[in-house]
């Protein structure tokens, strides 16, 4: 149970920030706060996301420069683990760059919507965490996908 929830929160934050260390720190801190809370919130998933987003906002400005440096270093380490070929390494690197560029060009709300849904968060959790009307989450998701597609295709192909 914990692993599933932690994994999806970490993945969301990792994709959102591009900084795995920051994502890990924030996801852990969000769970620490949940433990300290002593009782389960009505919508635990949305609660965790909301807490994590507040922590992320606070940390982003102070750690932004360090985040970029760590991301670059970690990216090499991850890809070197299965000992990829130089061509594969270059292709993966390029794919990551294009996806990152497309994600970063999205509006804040579209980016979060898309990344939350990609981790399987329910419409209710998404609406709660992003302060949206639950009845319009599906429509907004469709728009976010279209916006991502447009941004991705606009970025330079290899």
């Amino acid at each position: 149970m914990f692993e599933a929830h932690f994994t999806r929160l970490y993945r969301y934050l990792d994709r959102l920030s591009g900084d795995p260390e920051l994502a890990s720190d924030i996801a852990q801190e969000a769970f620490v706060r949940l433990f300290r809370r002593g009782s389960m919130p009505d919508t635990p998933q949305a609660w965790l996301v909301s807490v994590a987003m507040n922590l992320f906002r606070n940390a982003r400005s102070s750690r932004s420069r360090r985040g970029r440096l760590l991301t670059a270093a970690r990216s090499e380490g991850v890809l070197s683990d299965p000992a990829p070929s130089p061509d594969h390494f270059a292709a993966s690197e390029e794919s990551s760059r294009r996806v990152r560029a497309a994600i970063d060009r999205l509006a804040e709300r579209e980016r979060r919507l898309l990344l939350l849904r990609a981790e399987g968060y329910s419409y209710r959790d998404i609406a709660t965490a992003l302060d949206l009307k639950e009845a319009s989450v599906g429509t907004l998701l469709a728009r976010a996908r279209a916006a991502f597609r447009e941004c991705y295709e606009d970025t330079d192909a290899p």
Partner: protein, 243 residues
């Protein structure tokens, strides 16, 4: 009438209530255009989610027990402060509830002080004592002063007289009561003393009340006196009973 994007998305994500899902699926069975839109939407989403995996980094090794331990060890400063405040008010509440506790008087005084009301002047040392075994307080009354005996006392009494002075005075045998003064209020903690309290009220005081456990037993309002007890030699002797 074709399906709207919300219905298509909700169908694919399992977010439609059963009745709506049945209706949408019935429509899809008969509408090739909506079936195509639904399939395209699913394929588009799958492709985008696959692209997003390019952003992933390895999962950190974290377990619930470690985080729970951190939560217990590193309780934040505000948490400790909150715990301290709760503990303080818990102890204070228990002390407040104890019969005869002086905490009630302290609380009342504090509340009145916070409210910024004009404080009465309390000068116990200036009360002229008729003999060594008498203690008391004096307070300058404002527009409406209340002498409040905390508890009824069937053996006790208040002997009230009007004076030419400027201060309300209350005297009692030493050890019979404790006095706590606040703005326009004098609390007499008299539990079980059986004593007779000598009370002097200035004739010029606009309004002075004497209460026992919240009930009024005497009122001086201007020149008007309201009391169940008749005046005897310019004194009113009032049993300390709750009216």
């Amino acid at each position: 009438m074709h399906l709207d994007p919300e219905e298509i998305e909700r169908l694919r994500h399992g977010e439609l209530p059963p009745a709506a899902e049945h209706r949408v699926r019935s429509h899809l069975a008969d509408c090739a255009e909506c079936r195509k839109q639904t399939a395209d939407s699913a394929a588009d989403e799958a492709q985008i989610f696959a692209l997003l995996r390019h952003l992933d980094h390895p999962l950190p090794r974290v377990d619930a027990a470690t985080l729970a331990g951190r939560a217990q060890r590193a309780e934040p400063l505000w948490g400790r402060l909150a715990a301290g405040v709760f503990l303080f008010f818990g102890v204070a509440g228990a002390a407040y509830a104890l019969p005869g506790s002086p905490v009630r008087g302290w609380v009342q005084t504090t509340v009145e002080w916070i409210q910024g009301a004009e404080r009465s002047v309390v000068r116990p040392a200036q009360v002229p004592e008729r003999d060594a075994g008498v203690a008391g307080v004096a307070a300058t009354p404002g527009k409406a002063f209340v002498i409040h005996f905390e508890l009824p006392d069937s053996a006790g009494a208040a002997r009230v007289s009007l004076t030419e002075g400027e201060e309300v005075t209350v005297r009692a045998p030493s050890g019979a009561a404790t006095f706590t003064s606040g703005a326009e209020r004098l609390l007499v903690s008299n539990a079980g003393s059986g004593a007779t309290f000598e009370i002097g009220i200035p004739r010029d005081a606009p309004r002075v009340e004497i209460r026992v456990a919240g009930g009024r037993i005497f009122l001086k309002d201007g020149t008007r006196i309201v009391s169940d007890q008749p005046a005897e030699n310019q004194h009113y002797v009032l049993p300390l009973l709750e009216p």
